[in-house]
Symmetry: D3
Subunit: 295 residues, 6 copies
Amino acid sequence: MVILGAPMDEMVTHRPGARFGPREIRAATDLGAEGWHMDLGVDPFADLNVVDHGDAAVRPGDARFNHRSIREAVGRVVDSGAVPIVLGGDHSISFPNVAAVAEGVASGSLACIHFDAHTDTATENYEVEWSHGTPFRHLVDEGILAGPRLVQIGLRGWWPNPPEWEWARGAGVRWHRMEKVIEEGIDRVVDSALAEVSDADHLFLSVDIDVLDPAFAPGTGTPEPGGMSTRELLRAVRKIVSRRGLVGMDLVEVSPPYDHSGITSMAAHRTVLEAISALALHRSGREARPENPTG
Amino acid sequence: MVILGAPMDEMVTHRPGARFGPREIRAATDLGAEGWHMDLGVDPFADLNVVDHGDAAVRPGDARFNHRSIREAVGRVVDSGAVPIVLGGDHSISFPNVAAVAEGVASGSLACIHFDAHTDTATENYEVEWSHGTPFRHLVDEGILAGPRLVQIGLRGWWPNPPEWEWARGAGVRWHRMEKVIEEGIDRVVDSALAEVSDADHLFLSVDIDVLDPAFAPGTGTPEPGGMSTRELLRAVRKIVSRRGLVGMDLVEVSPPYDHSGITSMAAHRTVLEAISALALHRSGREARPENPTG
Amino acid sequence: MVILGAPMDEMVTHRPGARFGPREIRAATDLGAEGWHMDLGVDPFADLNVVDHGDAAVRPGDARFNHRSIREAVGRVVDSGAVPIVLGGDHSISFPNVAAVAEGVASGSLACIHFDAHTDTATENYEVEWSHGTPFRHLVDEGILAGPRLVQIGLRGWWPNPPEWEWARGAGVRWHRMEKVIEEGIDRVVDSALAEVSDADHLFLSVDIDVLDPAFAPGTGTPEPGGMSTRELLRAVRKIVSRRGLVGMDLVEVSPPYDHSGITSMAAHRTVLEAISALALHRSGREARPENPTG
Amino acid sequence: MVILGAPMDEMVTHRPGARFGPREIRAATDLGAEGWHMDLGVDPFADLNVVDHGDAAVRPGDARFNHRSIREAVGRVVDSGAVPIVLGGDHSISFPNVAAVAEGVASGSLACIHFDAHTDTATENYEVEWSHGTPFRHLVDEGILAGPRLVQIGLRGWWPNPPEWEWARGAGVRWHRMEKVIEEGIDRVVDSALAEVSDADHLFLSVDIDVLDPAFAPGTGTPEPGGMSTRELLRAVRKIVSRRGLVGMDLVEVSPPYDHSGITSMAAHRTVLEAISALALHRSGREARPENPTG
Amino acid sequence: MVILGAPMDEMVTHRPGARFGPREIRAATDLGAEGWHMDLGVDPFADLNVVDHGDAAVRPGDARFNHRSIREAVGRVVDSGAVPIVLGGDHSISFPNVAAVAEGVASGSLACIHFDAHTDTATENYEVEWSHGTPFRHLVDEGILAGPRLVQIGLRGWWPNPPEWEWARGAGVRWHRMEKVIEEGIDRVVDSALAEVSDADHLFLSVDIDVLDPAFAPGTGTPEPGGMSTRELLRAVRKIVSRRGLVGMDLVEVSPPYDHSGITSMAAHRTVLEAISALALHRSGREARPENPTG
Amino acid sequence: MVILGAPMDEMVTHRPGARFGPREIRAATDLGAEGWHMDLGVDPFADLNVVDHGDAAVRPGDARFNHRSIREAVGRVVDSGAVPIVLGGDHSISFPNVAAVAEGVASGSLACIHFDAHTDTATENYEVEWSHGTPFRHLVDEGILAGPRLVQIGLRGWWPNPPEWEWARGAGVRWHRMEKVIEEGIDRVVDSALAEVSDADHLFLSVDIDVLDPAFAPGTGTPEPGGMSTRELLRAVRKIVSRRGLVGMDLVEVSPPYDHSGITSMAAHRTVLEAISALALHRSGREARPENPTG
C-alpha cells in the first residue's frame, strides 16, 4: 500500500485549511513501526508493505495543475500494483484519484462506498466545475463510476437541492441518509451497502471526515451537526474492507486550523489504519481473531 | 417567522459569554438563501417567510431593562402574527419571551417543551430572582404556564435540590431525566412528551444548548457532562415541531468564548433550522418526503 | 473520603501535561458545598465526609520519589479509615495507589475494575519499567492484585502486542474490549464485570480518562479514537459503586494543556462525583430514589 | 499586605469573563513561597507579610451587592492596618476599593495613578451608572479623590467623547496619553506622574490590564491595540512604588476566557508581585541593590 | 469613504483563511456609531461619510472571477467619488484594487506606500502569476504604478531572491527594510517615505497585516517574526494620511482561523480607523488637537 | 551544519511539552530549499551544507538515557567536523550538548553566550540535579566552561536566590539583566557581551526561547513577563554570529501545547535560521550586503 498526500484546498467552498491535512494526519499517532489490532488480530505493518510516498507535487492556487499531478501520482502507484491511499486535501481530489484507480483496474468493475455528510454531486459550486462539491457527479457523468455502483452513507442537512436528488435517482446512485444510520444502526446500513456493491469486482473507499459529527471532527471545512461517531465509522470501515478488500481509498477534508488537540487528525489517522488492518485481514483469507480473555 | 437576538448574559451564574451567542449563531452556516431538508423534503426559506429582526435593544449590566426590552420586542413580533424565534443570551430570557408569547396567544392554552440539563426552577440563584436558573419557576408561579403543560427533557446532574423537586411535583410539572433518554431512547421520550402536551392548543419550544453533552456543545456557561448528542436533539425537535407546530421558540446559552471552531454555534443554528423546516412541513399539511434512492 | 492529588506526568510516553490534572479537575465545577443527585436521590456531601487533602508532595523530574510519596500519602489515608480518591497525574500512579490500598485492606481480597483504552500491562515502555503503560502488569506480577480480579473495560486500538495479551490470558485477567461495549451495550458489560469481581471483598476503581472518545476527552496524553461517551462512563461508575462500594479509586491522565473549555476536566470531575454519590447510596443501604414527576 | 479577589464582571460593556480573573492570576506562577527580585535585591515574601484573604463574597448578577461586599471587605483590610491589593474583576470595583481605602487613610490626602487604555470617566455607559467605564468619574465627583490627584497613563483610541475630556480638564485631572509614552518614553512619563502626585500623602495604584497592547494581554474585555509592553508596565510600577509606597492597589480586567496559555494572567501576576517587591524595598528605606556581576 | 470586503484567499501560498478577514475585521470593535480620536481631536464618523458596501461578489475557487469582481466593485466606488477601503482577503487583491483606483484618478499621478514583511514583487509564485506574492510586480510592470512611486516599509526575512531585488532597483522602487525601522525609528522612516512620494498627486495605502510581528498579528498566512509593533503601524498610518490624504487603501491578509481572541482583527480594524480618522483631519485642513490636560 | 532534535522534557519544573519542540520548529516555515537573507545578502543553504540528522534517540521518562544519547549524537556531529545545532527539548540538554562540543574543540577555549530569562545555575531544582534549571552550574563547576566565559543576557524576575548569585560572582560569570537591555539597548549589550568573550577561541550559543516576552513566545514552559522582543533577539544573534562564528548552538524550551498558530515555533525557527545565515556570512569573510534601493 502507498500513502500519498494531496495537500490542496483550493476547491473548498467554506473553511479552508485542508492543505495541511496530510501533514497532521501523519503526525497524529503515538504508535511506532508496529501495531497489533486487538479486534482483528493482525499487525498491518507486518502483513502488508505500507510505504509513504510523500505528497503529490502541488502549486498553491492552481487546482487544475494539482488535479493533474494527483492523477499522475496515483496512476504511478496503481501501475506499480500497489493500493493507493490518498490523504486530502479537499474532496475534489476524489475525481483524479478515482479516475486513476479506475484506469488502473480496467479489467474489472469498480464500486465506491462514500462516507460523507454531503452528496458532492453538484455540476458546479458557485460556477466552479471541479469544486469539492462535484467529484461524484463528474465521476458518474463521465462514465468512470457507474451510478448504481456508487453508495453514499451519512448524508444529512440542507444540501443538495432537488435537481441533484433527481439526477441521482435517474443515475441509479444508492445512498443511506444519516437518519437511516440512526434508525437502523450502522451495522445494518453497512450490510445494505455491501449488498449493493456485491456485483462489483473492486471496491474504492472515499471518506470525507465530515461524515463525523463536529464533536468528533471539528477540524473540517463544511461541518454538519448530527453526524456519525468515530466508533461507528471505524466499525463500518473495518467490516467493509474485511469483506471486500480495497483497490484505492481517500480520506479528505481534515482542516487542521479548525482542529484542536489533533482529535480530527487522529480520527482520520485511525480510519486509514483501520482500513489497512482490515485489508491485511482480508488478504490473509482468515477470520478476525479478537483478543479475548479465553483466547 | 422572525429571528430575534437577545444578546445578554448578566444573569448567568458561572461562565459568561452568551451575549455573543446571537452573532455567532447567525454566522454558523455555509448555506445561502435556500436549503432543501433531505429528510423532510422541504425548503424552509421557500415555504415560510423567515425574517431576521436583528437584536433586541440591550444595555450591558442592566438585566431588568433587557428583560423589558425583550418582552416588548417579542410582543411586537407576536402582534404581527409571526412566530418569534429568540436567540439567547442566557436562559433568563425565557421569562420575557414565553410571557410575551403567552399574552399573544391568549385565546388558547400554551404548553412548553424544554430541553435542558437543568430544571431552571429555583426561586432565586445566589439571591438573584430573575437569574438564568429561575425562569420556569416564575412562569409557572405567575400562572403564565400551567405546571402540567411544562415538560422538561434531558435533566441530569446534581442540581436542583429537593425543595425544587417537591415544588415541581406539587405543580404538576412533567420531566424526563437524561437517564430516561438513555434507557428508553429519545424517540420514546419525545412520544411521551408529545402525549403530555397533547391537550394544549399551542406549543412553545425552549432549548438550552447545554442539554447537549459538552463534547457537542463546549461553548456554554454551565455545561454538564453526560448529555444528549446533537443528532438526538435534531431528531427530537424535528418530530415535535412536525407534529405540533410552534408559536414561539428560544435557543439559549451559546457562549462563543468557550466554543471552538464554531461547533456549538453550528449545533444551535441547525436546531433552529430544523425547527423552521419542521414547521414548514407542519404547515404544509403533508407528510415528510425524504429523499430516497427509489423516489 | 479523601481527595488526594498526584500531580506528576514524568511517566507518560506521548503528550505530557497530566501534572496539572488535579488542579483543573478540582476547578471544573460550578457546584458549591452541596449537590443533590437527581437519579440516585442522595446528597453526597451530606451523607459522606469528603475532605480534600491537597496534593502529595512531588518533585518534577523524579518519578521514583513521587511514587514513594504517593504511596505514603495514600497509606496514611487508608490507615485513617478513609477511602482515598487519587486525582492523577499519569497512570503510573496506580501502582503506588493500589499497592497502598491493598496493604490497608489486607484482611480481605481486592478486585479492580479498570476503565481504559489501553491495558497498561507492559513490562516496560521504551525500557522504562514504571511507565504509565505498566502499572497493572506489575500489580499482578508482584501479587498485589490477583490476575482474575483485574477486569478491564473499553480497550481498543493497536496496542499492546501479542506477548502482553498472552500474559494476560495466562494470568487470568479478564477484559471487555470497546467492541464488546458497542455490541452488547455498557449495561451488560458492567453486569459481566460485576459478576467477575463478585467473589472479592473489596473493590478498587481505576479510570483512565482516555477510555472516553477524544471528542469527550481531548485533554489527555494518549487519546484513542472510537471510545466511550461520558454518559456511558458515568452510568457504569454509578452502577458499579452503587452495587459494590469502594475502597479506593483513581482518575488519571487528564492533561489540561490539551483540553479546551475544561470539557475533559469536567468529565473527570463528574466521574469522581458520580462515584462519591454512588458510594453514599451504597452505604445508606437503600435503593436509588430518582426524582420522578410522580414522586 | 492582603490579597483580595473581586470575582465579578457584571459591569463590563463588551467581553465578559473577568469574574475568573482572581482564580487565574493566583495560579499564574511557578514560584513557591520565596522569590528574590534580581533588580531590586529583595525577597518580598520575607520582608512583608503577604496574606491571601480569598475572594469577597459575590452574587452573580447582583453588581450592587458585590460593590457593597467589596467595599466592606477592603474596609476590613484597611482597618487592620494592612495594604489591600484587589484582583478584579471588572474595573467598576475601583469605586468601592478606592472609597474604602480613602476612608481608611482619612488622615492624609490620597492620590491615584491609573494605568489604562480608557479614562473610565463617563457618568454612565449605556445608562448604567456604576459600569466599568465610570469609576473614576464618580470617585472625583463624589469628592473621594481630588481631580488633580488622579493621574492616568496609557490612554488611547476613540473613547471617551469631548464632554468627558472637558469634564476632566475642568476637574483638574492629569493624564498621559499613550502617544506621550511613545514619544517621551515610559521613564519620563512616570517621572511626570510622580511629580504630579508629589503633594499627596498616600498613593493608590489602579492597573487595568488593557493598558497593555493586546499582544501582551489578549485576555481582557475591551482591548485597544497600540498599548504598552509588559516590560514598560513592570518598570513603571517598580519605580512608582519604590518611590512612593502604596496604601492600596487593584489589578483589573483580566478575562481568562480570552487569554491563551495564561500570558495575560501572568502579566497581571507579575505586575502585582512587582508592586509588592517595590513596596518591600520602599519600606526598607534603602536603595535597590541589583544583582550585578561585580556585586 | 466606502468599505468593501474582498473575501478571497485562493492566491495564498501558505496558510489560508483570509477569506474570513472582512467578516472578523468588521466585528472587531466595541465602538458604536461615534468615536472621538483623542490624539487627533476628530470624530471620523461625524466628519466623513463612511459607508459599508458589503463584500464584492466572489466565487470560492475562482480567483480570476474574484479579481474581476473586485476591480469592478472598486471602480464603481471610485466613479462615485468616494475613497475605497478594501478589506482583504489575500494580498493579490491589491492588483485589481490599485488598478481600479489608478484608472479613477487618471488626472494625476499615483503613489503607493506599502507596509509588508514581503515585497510581493515576484513574477509568479509556484508558477501562479496572480498569486499574493506578485501584485506589486505586475502593477509596476504594467505601468499602473511608476516604480519610483512605490515605497515599501517593514521588509524582512529570507524572501524574495536576488532577481526580484535587482528588478526593484532597476525599476526605481524604494523600500525601507525592517532593520531600518529598528535602527532609525518609525518616525524617520515615515518621513523618508513621505519625501519619496512627495511629487505624486495621490496616495494609495496598502497594509499587509503581516508587517506586524506575529505577537501582534498571529492571524495571518505568512507570518514573519521580527516585525513592527501595532503602535508603530498606527503611528505611521496616522502621520502618512494626515499629511497626504488618501485616494484608496487596502488592509489584507488577516486570517481569522489563525487568530486568537480577535487580536489580529482588532489591529486591522484600528489601522483602518486610524486612516479614516487621519483623513478626516487632513480634509479639515487643521492641525491635530490632542486631548491634553491643559486643553 | 547539522540540525539535531532533542525531544525530551523530563527535566522541566513547570509546564511540559518541549518534547514536541523539534517537530514543530522544523515545520514552522513556508520557505523551500532556498532563501535569501535581505539584510545580510547571503543564501545560507547555498553557502553552507545544512543537514537535518533527525532526533537523538530518546526514551520518554528516562532523562539519564536521553542526556547520554544526546551527548553521543552531538559528539558524532562534532567529530565529523560539522557544527551541531540542537533543537530542544528542555534546557537540561545544554549540559550534554556543550560538554560534547567542548570535548570536540579541545584545542581552543570555549565561550558561551546564553539568552534566557533564568540563569539556570542552581545545583538542583526540587532536589533534581540535572534539571533544566541547573545546566550552566554544572558546566562551570565541572570545568567544562570557564566561569568568565559564560555570558548571560535577558535575565529577569524572582529567581534564582542569593546563593546562586553569590556563586556566579565567585565563579566570574558575567550577565546582563533584562533591565540593562531596556536601559542600554540590545546593541550595546551585545557589544559588551562580545567584548567579554573576545579572548575565547570558540563560541557556543544557547538560546532559551523564554528570553522572549510571553507575547512573542507563549509556547514555553516557564515564561517570564517583561522579556525581549523577537526582533531584538534576531538582531542580537545576527551580530554575535556574524562577528564570532559558531561551534555549536541550542535552541530550547519551545513547548508547542502552549503555543498558538505556531508563533513561538516560528520565532525559534527564525532564530536558528538567523544564526545559520550569519555563520554563512562570517565564513565568507565579507561584510553584510543588505538589499538597498541604491544597490
